[in-house]
């Protein structure tokens, strides 16, 4: 029995669980998508990925159907391309025509890159604009649903991947809106501010509020790094413009995280230039923390350690080490606990 199929005239081997879309892309076909995110179940919403399959009356959404033996698939012909173009014109028409913020600041968004590829402007099919913009004072996520094309990537990522269940489509049809149920602002909702919805959004509807207005895309360089906040070691890209850190985007190729981040890695890295950062040791004098020299601080520590140890024994100590310290620092910390203070009470915040 044959275990191959044909895509655009080429023979393709069948792989367990692979969709027509994935197989087509694997063998080099360019199939456009807007609602596809490989990490979550397909919603088959954009209908741009539709292809012709012999024996099927209507084209099928290639993202939502497995490639099976002997299938004969055509990913592109005049009719498919014409309808793709029309669908692009339709979604562009539900958004305002002014220039997309995402394109300016983050670089061309998926929607507008595709529109450019297809030579489609945003001024066809004049009509009503969709999307209600919530009043949301949360400090992290800018939500402008007038830019939204209801691809449901954010809601699937939030519910299926993050399992945060913070946002969901509400209502029906053209009047559907993305909402945090019962909450106008994400602040009162289940949102953990992982930022994953921003990262999957193919338009300017969801943006990193902290980065808004900081730079234009041409000026941004991305520096690969590792989130220093915990032991997971998620991959991040530090976005740098004119020598200044402006925000984080995920490193999609990072082995530990494959693009996932939590609120700390996504939004917490701005401690780099925070005025709250300590630059000298602090010693509490008369109940107030005051700047001190290293000598003064260390001498004080040694005194106190010795007193406590003499009075209560080594079991009175517990040490907590930081994931933000290098491994060598953590090693030395446990040496200090075990060899110097004589206690095994040492832990690290990476474990929590």
């Amino acid at each position: 029995m044959s275990v191959t199929a044909t895509i655009d005239g080429k023979s393709v081997d069948i792989r367990e669980g692979e969709s027509i879309l994935e197989a087509a892309r694997r063998c080099g076909a360019e199939v456009p998508t807007l609602c596809y995110d490989s990490r979550v179940d397909p919603s088959a919403s954009c209908r741009l990925c539709v292809v012709k399959v012999d024996g099927r009356r209507l084209p099928v959404a290639s993202c939502a159907h497995a490639l099976t033996a002997d299938m004969n698939v055509t990913t592109s012909d005049d009719e498919l391309e014409e309808n793709r173009k029309t669908i692009l014109k339709l979604v562009l028409s539900e958004n305002p025509t002014e220039e997309c913020r995402s394109c300016i600041e983050r670089g061309p968004c998926e929607l507008h890159s595709l529109a450019t590829d297809y030579g489609v402007e945003s001024d066809y099919y004049d009509g009503a604009i969709s999307g209600r913009i919530p009043e949301d004072s949360n400090p992290f996520i800018a939500r402008d649903y007038s830019q939204c094309i209801l691809c449901y990537r954010c809601t699937r990522v939030c519910n299926e991947l993050e399992q945060a269940h913070a946002i969901i489509p509400e209502g029906r049809g053209f009047g559907t809106n993305i909402v945090a149920p019962f909450h106008e602002s994400l602040l009162g909702s289940n949102c953990t501010f992982c930022g994953q919805c921003i990262q999957t959004c193919p338009t300017g509807a969801l943006m990193d509020k902290k980065m808004l207005g900081k730079a234009v895309a041409e000026d941004v360089t991305k520096v690969r790094s590792i989130c220093p906040f915990c032991g997971t070691g998620c991959g991040i890209e530090l976005n740098v413009a004119k020598g200044e850190f402006i925000g984080v985007t995920p490193d999609w190729d990072a082995p530990a995280s494959a693009g996932s981040l939590c609120v700390k890695g996504q939004f917490g890295i701005d401690f780099i230039r925070s005025p709250d950062r300590l630059t000298t040791p602090l010693v509490r004098r008369d109940g107030v923390l005051q700047p001190a020299t290293w000598d003064e601080a260390l001498t004080l520590l040694v005194d106190k350690f010795q007193t406590v140890r003499a009075e209560s024994g080594p079991g009175a100590f517990a040490l907590w080490s930081s994931a933000r310290a290098p491994s060598e620092g953590n090693f030395l910390m446990q040496k200090l606990a075990r060899a110097v203070l004589g206690t095994n009470n040492i832990d690290n915040c990476s474990r929590t």
Binding site: R47, Y125, E170, R172, G173, P181
Partner: protein, 542 residues
């Protein structure tokens, strides 16, 4: 909240329960539902916010409104509609137009909203099968139903225990699904029978949401045992012991009728181990699409599923499921009783059996009529429906409710069968026919249809979600509500093509059909509108 854990599909009954306790669905109620059903609250929120008659995010359940459907908005029948969102979805009372929702009750103009008119003796070869007994007083009760031969076929099927034989018979009868798609019944039952699994379901599609369609209504209200018997037969044939009737919200009386009949049948022990339940929808046309219907039962947002897998393989709760329309199910006992040959020959030419047609709009005697499958539109409209209103000339009609297409008077001799409409790219669909005459504006009618699709589009897919709105806006312009754009026909064609080919379900695929009919058969009237003239004098230009 009542304990619904024994229910085959507890979501809808529990949502109805919850709605009884609060005017506006609160977060607490939603969370309680989420806990009881073990579905994340966000999903319940998405699902509950979808329906016309849910009270999530609203002050109260919608209890007042006039029908915004195509029949009820015809001149001389009801009100011409202004803006989207006005008016309720067609409640299936088009033969008693104008229909309205008043104080939570759906009513048309008839005193008895359920009784079908008697069959027109003058249509050649009319022999009623589905409506044969329907005018018998008291038929709803088990005794009367049995006295007229009821539950005999179920008894025989169980006794003879030869499911293959039943399927052979049904195949020979030529019975095709009456809900819209016309899929052979025997093939569907066979597929479920052959799919392995010790748990399977039989689901009846009693959503009847198609505008201009009200033919399941008499069966549901007056002959509940016929449906119950038919579903139990299906259960026996395919190996399912559980059944669910998905009943549209707009038929609350049928909910009580069906539940009473089921209770009576169970008490009398005629159903054996077949456990049948009724779930009421909450107002949504797309829930009649079989996979949306399944999602609705499961408490998910009722967007259609991608097929394959078909419900015969993975249906309700992922188990093999038979889904049929009320009329399809109800045809089964008569076929088993009187034989496949008899049934087949009731239809005209190649068509098998009878069909319930709904005719409404500008005709003298609107109503649901049972005619030989393949009767012409002229027979339905002029003979059964009593012809045009005095002094009026019929201009055209829609088929498949409105989703099958739009034809002109010159097509009145087209047989209303599965094959004939296809020559125009149209479909028989549910068998509903909305008639309009020279007092009506066809462009305005098409706009009303598009308003319906726009309001009912589920929002899952781009071409339909945006396309229905863009088409309606262009029809607004043609009917004097806005400025028309220059390349209107090109836009109709482009948007229509993308919707028909790329939409995820039948709603978006079929929505452009009325427009195709308009462009093809009413070119002059369309052109006049582009010039700012409405020949029927219905549209007023800015």
């Amino acid at each position: 909240m009542a304990d619904r854990t024994g229910s085959h599909a507890p979501f809808l009954p529990m949502l109805h329960d919850a709605m009884e306790h609060t005017e506006t669905m609160s977060e607490e109620t939603l969370n309680a539902l989420s806990n009881a059903l073990r579905i994340p609250a966000s999903y319940i929120h998405q699902a509950a916010s979808f329906y016309h008659y849910s009270n999530l995010g609203k002050d109260h359940v919608l209890r007042e409104g006039t029908c915004g459907g195509p029949t009820c908005c015809l001149p001389g029948v009801g009100v011409r509609r202004g803006t989207p969102g006005e008016g309720i979805a067609c409640p299936g009372l088009c033969d008693q137009a104008p229909a309205a929702l008043a104080g939570g009750v759906f009513r048309g103009t008839a005193a008895d909203p359920f009784l079908p008119p008697p069959p027109p003796a003058s249509v050649d070869g009319v022999e009623e099968v589905l409506f044969h007994d329907i005018r018998i007083p008291g038929l709803r009760s088990l005794d009367v139903y049995r006295a007229n031969g009821g539950y005999e076929q179920l008894r025989r099927v169980v006794e003879q225990d030869d499911a293959e034989e039943v399927i052979v018979n049904l195949r020979a009868s030529g019975l095709l699904g009456r809900g819209g798609a016309g899929f052979p019944l025997a093939a569907k039952w066979q597929a479920v029978r052959e799919t392995p699994g010790d748990r399977k379901y039989v689901v009846c599609n009693a959503d009847e949401g198609e505008p201009g369609t009200f033919k399941d209504r008499p069966l549901l209200h007056l002959n509940p045992h016929l449906l119950i018997e038919s579903m139990a037969i299906a259960g026996h044939v395919v190996g399912a012991t559980a059944g669910v009737i998905y009943l549209r919200y707009e038929y609350p009386e049928a909910y009580d009728v069906l539940n009473e009949a089921i209770a009576e049948a169970e008490a009398a022990g005629v159903l054996g181990d077949f456990d049948l339940q009724v779930a009421r929808g909450l107002g949504s046309y797309v829930c009649g699409e079989e996979t949306s219907l399944l999602n609705s039962l499961e408490g998910l947002v009722p967007w259609p599923r991608e097929r394959p897998p078909f419900p015969t393989q993975k249906g309700l709760w992922g188990l093999p499921t038979v889904i049929n329309n009320v009329e399809t199910f109800c045809s089964v006992p008569a076929i088993l009783e009187r034989g496949a040959d008899w049934y087949r020959h009731l239809g005209r030419d190649e068509s098998a059996g009878t069909k319930l047609y709904s005719v409404s709009g500008r005709v003298a005697r609107p109503g649901p009529y049972e005619l030989p499958l393949g009767a012409t539109a002229r027979e339905l409209i002029e003979v059964a429906g009593g012809g045009p209103l005095p002094g009026r000339a019929i201009k055209g009609y829609t088929i498949g409710g409105i989703s099958g297409g739009l034809l002109a008077a010159e097509h009145l001799d087209m047989p209303l069968d599965y094959a004939a409409p296809r020559q125009h790219g149209f479909a028989l669909g549910s068998g509903g026919v909305v008639v309009f005459d020279d007092a009506c504006c066809v462009v305005d009618l098409v706009r009303t249809c598009m308003l319906f699709y726009e309001a009912e589009s589920c929002g899952k897919c781009f071409p339909c979600r945006v396309g229905t709105v863009r088409l309606r806006e262009r029809l607004d312009a043609l009917t004097g509500r806005a400025e028309p754009s220059a390349n209107l026909i090109d836009e109709f064609n482009e948007i229509g093509a993308a919707m028909s080919a790329n939409s995820a379900c039948g709603l978006g695929q079929a929505a452009p059909l009325v427009l195709h009919g308009l462009v093809r058969f009413f070119g002059e009237e369309l052109e006049a509108h582009r010039q700012g003239v409405c020949p029927a004098g219905v549209c007023h230009f800015l």
